[in-house]
Subunit: 588 residues, 2 copies
């Protein structure tokens, strides 16, 4: 497969829509980063992705990871690619300057990881995990632990893994049973079994630090009794810690990422954060992983779309309504529909996910404290939307990319089916879509009476009332967006009332509600994209752009509003339909 | 995995909804078949499926088919299972009595093949193909060819394959280049390359007959110049015919079905039907294959749903809104939504596909000629709906079955991911969803000014006006159904007008239109199912059934109308949105 980083669209998103340089100028530590610098990094990432990572992705599937007697052999070429990745500094984009990192904004990480995710989902799983671990340690670990591990993570000499799940405890981490016994000053001995620990064993780095949720002896049951520990594979005295990989899963896809079963036999670990505050310490890491899932969704779907578009231009079958000779597939209206669906989801995802990254930058680095606080709230709302909405949309887009290839898409050689298999996990791990939807509706929207939601709807409303939204030609977007905004507010009120009437009654609609909010944010960004295109149109001579890039973007915005946004009508109907007692239909 | 044939629901569909015995009583060759006999056959099929076929399905994936030097080794156990399958008479359910078959109605074939498809998609691919081939030969082959091959096909001693696709000719069979030169009386020598020929090489049967589309020397280009040939692997003198398997595809799934590349090097073949009438001769076989895809959709999705329901009852994670202890997944409202979605799609598919089979029985065997003709027209309308609507719905249901399993669904061991991979082909082969949608909209609906469509809408209308549709409690169904019927008529008029305005302009909406019609038929059957449940409720004491099977079925009907049917709102909006010139957004 071939991939070329979508630099033109990235430039549109970063510079024309988000106006990222202006936003970053308000953040002291990022001020001065201009649009050209951002795009230069994106371009380098694109070159490395296409040249060094993408060629390994087939082998990551065909050969995959292999487990022999406790050790994991990574796919062919990963070792060298990882070395180059570290040397070129990709491992430490966002790491603090003080730790030897490059201190770039989260936005840059987001762009670069969209690109790397397209090149190889498996590679990015292992190569980007330190970003998440470092965020966790920076927030919660003691100065000593930070000093010991943050530079090592920034250099890539040490890689990390997140060890939560156990056989009996998946979505319900309160059921975890791994135990920790105090042992010497600050140390603990951990015992238990973890599963689904991605990248918990391999030989890519000199050492691996596991971030492990466990229960200190005597702590209460449930999720509130959990603590977080850092457990290195190799101890500082050169001894092997008592943490062992008992095997890796055989999965539908993502064969290049080792999904490990891990056994802790009194392994030495160090507390990260306060005892029994393990979830709070873990969550920043988990949130990063959720945002990364959104980037994987976008990257995988972009690669598949490039393949589908290429195939549709090359393969000749059937006649177009007008023609006599066999025409390229792309001339068929239904193939156009399939391609446009992918394009609209992908470009919508790109606006949404990189905007979220910029919101997180504002939450961490904006000069104004109130703005930081508000941005953090907004980021909390957007995280489950990015994870839940984009990962589901990507499944649909990827399946259509395969479909465009016809029977050839089902054959391994073509490459798209691997992407479909690889991507199937993104709605499952880091909290399934249902878990995201529950988090969004219950914790992020209903719990505070809709105050956090108002941060989002308020921005949409403010934009609709801004002069820019009144531009000629924009009514086809602002009209439906205004309607949707009112519908979102009404649906929220409806569900809040239903929940007040009976605890848990709103949960039956949580996935529909998540998609509804996803549509609101995405439709807002598509409207803003359309406004940007129309503004260019105003400024320039008409015919110059009529067939050009902006006309294509504007057509995609129209497609989104005409073909994808109407899903909201079905969602609203489903939300309005009163839930019934389904249990009796589901008895065994 | 475990599977138990859904006998209770099948009995409801056959005996309570379709009233199959009464319908069959009007067909002289099937009169006298009562409901108990139908269910007895279904029960035996269920036993054979669960006991003899299902246990092979994992090996069909893991070991798959293996190609060595022109020969294909089938998955472990297939040889024995196929022998038993023939001995028990499953191979010849519908074959004519005169050919040694059992002469049962198509409806029975439909029920039995839903069940076998659940047990193993790969096995049913090879084991049911003779049904399609026999239909083709019975319609078009000379008496001599029929006498030579029909009994052999009915016994299963000979298996068959359908050879259409070539590397340059997929959906566009007019591009086929395999050539046939006359050679002796009635004989031809065929030369060319075929791909994607399922079951075109294996050792299960003593011989294989290939039904091959080719062009007689001198025939015009395009699909009208094609003729159909029967090409046996072994000739009657014991010589090997010059038809060779050059390899099998490595696919995303369905590893137990050999997808062959076939080379014809002057292979001897016999004309089936008239020269240059190959498509007409092939189409009855193709239509059967399309209906079988619908059965595969249903079977695969039923097995996955049984697994998901079982897992949801067994696995405990999280707390239900009311509870304190970990509860089974099935207590979570969002899990209920996922399970109900699968259940509603599956049971809707069961009504639709088996009704279609009964319509085909009427087309072939009804005592009244006008009824036969009308049924044949209706079957032509229903075939692309069964293929296009049910196969897409099954993808959604299967994906949800995997989703219910969480991360464990992504692991091969659980078994569901195989079903997702296997099923991915059903929207691609035997005419992709787009091809079905084009066939439905252009050939079946617009070409005759909606006359054929009126056969369907007229039946829905007649039912809505019948006394049964006025029963108490049914308004929640008849209201939306009446609305949808009017919307379907309006959408048809809209698209007809658009097509008159510009040839091909309606094509952009063909897939939305197919789904809209699919919803109409399925919603009609759900309304009828609800009516049947309410009638039982009327007849019996209320509390006796309140918690029972009929209450569960009625709840599922409500779910379908509340959660799945609203998709029509999105489809209508997409159809109404005027198509735009998307091509400029799709340039490379």
């Amino acid at each position: 497969m071939r991939y070329s980083a979508p630099l033109r669209d990235l430039s549109f998103v970063l510079n024309e829509l988000l106006d990222a340089p202006a936003a970053l100028a308000q953040m002291p530590e990022h001020a001065g980063l201009d649009g050209e610098s951002l795009m230069a990094v994106a371009e380098q990432a694109g070159d490395f992705a296409a040249g060094a990572i993408l060629p390994l992705n087939r082998g990551a599937d065909e050969t995959g990871c292999r487990w022999h007697g406790g050790e994991v052999e990574m796919p062919p070429g990963f070792q060298q690619a990882y070395r180059d990745y570290c040397e070129l500094g990709w491992v430490s984009i966002c790491a603090a300057l003080a730790d030897g990192g490059q201190g770039l904004p989260r936005l840059m990480f987001s762009v670069v990881n969209e690109i790397f995710s397209a090149a190889s989902h498996a590679f990015v799983m292992i190569a980007s995990v330190n970003h998440c671990a470092a965020i966790c340690l920076r927030r919660s670990a003691s100065p000593a632990l930070q000093a010991r591990w943050l530079p090592a993570l920034a250099s890539g000499r040490v890689l990390s893994s997140m060890c939560m799940t156990e056989p009996q405890a998946g979505s319900d981490i309160g059921l975890l049973s791994t135990r920790a016994e105090p042992d010497g000053p600050g140390g603990y001995r951990l015992s238990g079994s973890k599963i689904f620990a991605s990248g918990a064993e391999h030989g890519l780095s000199a050492n691996i630090v596991h971030l492990v949720l466990a229960r200190i002896a005597g702590a209460p049951p449930g999720s509130r009794g959990l603590s977080l520990f850092l457990v290195p594979k190799w101890l500082d005295d050169g001894a092997r810690n008592a943490v062992h990989c008992d095997g890796i899963e055989h999965k539908m896809g993502l064969h290049g990422s080792p999904t490990c079963a891990l056994r802790l036999d009194g392994a030495l670990g160090w507390l990260v954060g306060e005892p029994q505050r393990g979830l709070a310490a873990m969550f920043p890491m988990m949130n990063e992983a959720r945002l990364m899932s959104g980037l994987q969704a976008l990257g995988l779907s972009e690669l598949a779309w490039q393949a589908a578009r290429g195939y549709a231009h090359e393969r000749r079958q059937g006649r177009s309504p007008a023609g006599l000779q066999p025409c390229p597939l792309v001339d068929h209206p239904d193939v156009q529909r399939m391609l446009m669906t992918q394009k609209a989801w992908n470009e919508g995802a790109r606006m949404l996910v990189h905007w979220t990254a910029l919101v997180i930058d504002a939450a961490e680095s904006h000069a104004d404290q109130a703005h930081r606080r508000e941005s953090a709230e907004l980021a909390g709302l957007l995280t489950p939307i990015v994870k839940g909405f984009l990962c589901e949309n990507a499944q649909q887009a990827l399946s259509l990319a395969l479909q465009v290839h016809g029977g050839h898409g089902y054959v391994r050689e073509t490459g798209v089916e691997q992407l479909v298999r690889d991507a199937r996990v993104i709605t499952l791990y880091e909290g399934s879509t249902g878990i995201q939807a529950q988090d969004l509706l219950m914790r992020k929207v209903l719990a505070d009476g809709g105050q956090r939601l108002a941060l989002l709807t308020g921005r949409v409303q403010a934009w609709l009332e801004s002069p820019g939204a009144g531009a000629e030609g924009l009514a086809a977007f602002t009209g439906p967006l205004r309607t949707l905004l009112a519908q979102v507010r009404a649906a929220t009120t409806l569900l809040a009332g239903r929940e007040r009437g009976q605890a848990g009654a709103a949960l039956a609609s949580c996935c529909s509600y998540l998609r509804l909010l996803g549509h609101l944010v995405m439709a807002w960004w598509w409207a803003r994209a359309a406004a940007a295109c129309l503004a260019v149109h105003e400024r320039e001579h008409e015919h110059e752009h009529k067939q050009g890039w902006y006309a294509g973007k504007l057509a995609t915005a129209h497609f989104h509003y005409g073909e994808l946004l109407p899903e909201t009508r079905a969602l609203l109907a489903a939300i309005e339909a009163a839930p019934r007692p389904w249990a009796l239909a589901l008895a065994e």
